[in-house]
Symmetry: C2
Subunit: 420 residues, 2 copies
Amino acid sequence: MLIVVGAGLLLLPFATHQSIGVIDALFTATSAVTVTGLVVVDTGADFTLFGQTVIALLIQFGGLGLMTFAVVTLIAIGGKIGVFHQQVAATAFNQTKLATVTSTAKSVVLFALMVESLGMVLLFICWIDEMPIADALFHSFFYAISAFNNAGFALSSDSLSAYVGDPGTNLIITGLFITGGLGFVVWIDLYRQRRWHKLNLYSRVMIISTVIINVVVMLLFLLLEWNNSATLGALAESERWWAAWFHATTPRTAGFNTLDVAGYNDGTTILTILLMFVGAGSISTSSGIKLMTFVVLILSTYAFLRQREEIRIFNRSIPEHTVRKAFALTVISVSLIWIAFFLLSATHNLRFIDAIFEVVSAFGTVGLSRGITGELNPFGQFLIMFLMFFGRIGPLTLGYLLAKPKRNRVRYPSTEIPIG
Amino acid sequence: MLIVVGAGLLLLPFATHQSIGVIDALFTATSAVTVTGLVVVDTGADFTLFGQTVIALLIQFGGLGLMTFAVVTLIAIGGKIGVFHQQVAATAFNQTKLATVTSTAKSVVLFALMVESLGMVLLFICWIDEMPIADALFHSFFYAISAFNNAGFALSSDSLSAYVGDPGTNLIITGLFITGGLGFVVWIDLYRQRRWHKLNLYSRVMIISTVIINVVVMLLFLLLEWNNSATLGALAESERWWAAWFHATTPRTAGFNTLDVAGYNDGTTILTILLMFVGAGSISTSSGIKLMTFVVLILSTYAFLRQREEIRIFNRSIPEHTVRKAFALTVISVSLIWIAFFLLSATHNLRFIDAIFEVVSAFGTVGLSRGITGELNPFGQFLIMFLMFFGRIGPLTLGYLLAKPKRNRVRYPSTEIPIG
Ligand SMILES: [K+]
Ligand SMILES: [K+]
């Protein structure tokens, strides 16, 4: 619905400098609402200020998440919301207590607006010397929303490549999208508990695995790309570290780039595809199967190899049903990606690496591309639109539809964690 | 051990026309023992009759399976085998009754020799008009062993391309490798029960899914390749059907080819990669995660979507532990493939499509290649060797190591099926 309205607005004559096709408008709106960032029309050059503002608003509504959006709308329209709706929202939020829904929805919006405002101010300070005030203001507004929501939409066709070595831009943008990608649950937990040992299991696992994965991938990126003249090799040494940090963190849904992704070595490309598939936090502005699902897959396999029935982490066990949810979600996601990859390759004349990269990028609503988005025929565009749509709402919906409470006979105390 | 002995024999001066390197000999022996068929030395042109016979014997010993081989050896050497060894063999065979081990091992060998002899006679009749009797005899001997064991080793560098439209060769070769790939368990069950409704669950699922997958893939192959001048497009119409049948069945471990695999469309390539990953029957001459594992993944995900705790098939339920085994095996396999793909790509200058194809082909011990096997450096060769080795014995070993009996509270009667 939001996508159709968005596409309609983008088709208005004063949204673009030259008129665009219906499919292109639909694609752009889908990409914005699903916070993907794959584009067939140059956001900076072809859309007017009005069009760009529409895109930013689509990102904002899409990025707060369809579920958050639903909760907020219900509250805004209905005042008091019925028990059934509260139940839906509660499950979607993976929160078990009914009473916390309303306050949670408010917290989400408040938190998002606060972080975005802070990001906007900081970006404005960063960029005020480089461009006219009006431009700096709009750029800060656009990028703060795009970054916090992990949308990856940029106002230049080469994304943020101009700022490849700029510490301020690198820190603020990655700070915004990591904050958004970590997910509201973790931040609310952090805000309420403030002490490490009081945090719930999910928050602790998310924080630790996020730090580990970002650092490890950054080092791998440096190792793999250091002498690649198409990427790091062309930069000064200090710039390489910033670029490596940026490109280690951006694949898990953000989708901005400061280097040319098509210039990656194959090893880096393979690593990036995995990261795009995994994504970041549940109930966040990120997509993919989600980091926690990935962690559960690994822990479950490890437990199986150790002949343990329980999957243990931090002296807790993960319920069997949750593990099955993680596996089911992964099987469905991989199947979908493989079928889409097959269909895209069978109907287009694409390089293998470009096609798989594009498909996984769409599924993870990442938005990184090796440059083939514009070459897709209408069938391919609809396929990518479907992938973006499923990647954004599929895992969440599956997680909600399949959230069956079940008592487990476990020795360790059991704890619920969100999957998808 | 067998690999080292085999490599030693292949290094003997009268095994090859021109001397080959140690790594090449090791690679060839590994490829033969793991019944893969990836080659760095031309089997037909570079090896002497002695060398080719060594390869055939390595295939025969490797193909009967490391576990079968172990049972047979134990029986041959020890006469009566101890309970511990019987236990090992029993578990490896996924047979639950101790007493059946000895007779099972004998049946396996007898069955293999009978089928191979039959195949050899039929091939000999097919080929007697085309070549001298001695050649026809050796070719029949070599191909019967190579086909039944799903080894994919051929005496021509273009495999069986010369027989692309020959009904006899097509039927006999595919008949041999499908028979071997279906697995001894199914054949023994068929031999003992002879009636469909008396067959155990595993046999029925295997037969049905084998038929369905072969027919569906054949039709897809025809659809995708009909006008491709690099494959079917160059053939007469009747030949196209034979080639489609052959190439629909060969990826699930056999590895022979009558068309140039590098000429496939990308869609066909993607389909073939999936088939190579899946493989055929458990306890067979096939590798990969195995068809039954794949079926369990699908059934489990379907059951999860239907909110069912039990995974049902033919009025039976599959035990939870078996499902977890299937998922663990798949996670380990995919991780291994992805890591190998990463390492191969990072250390070689290969096309993406060639590298992933080669890695999955090695893991599934398929032996199809887009032609890069000869270009690998020693590291790449050892990587492929490791993959072939793990692909052949890994799933079986995991299946054995992790075969933990466990009582389930299920409403349907529970039945054991082999995974991996
Ligand atoms: K994105
Ligand atoms: K093979």
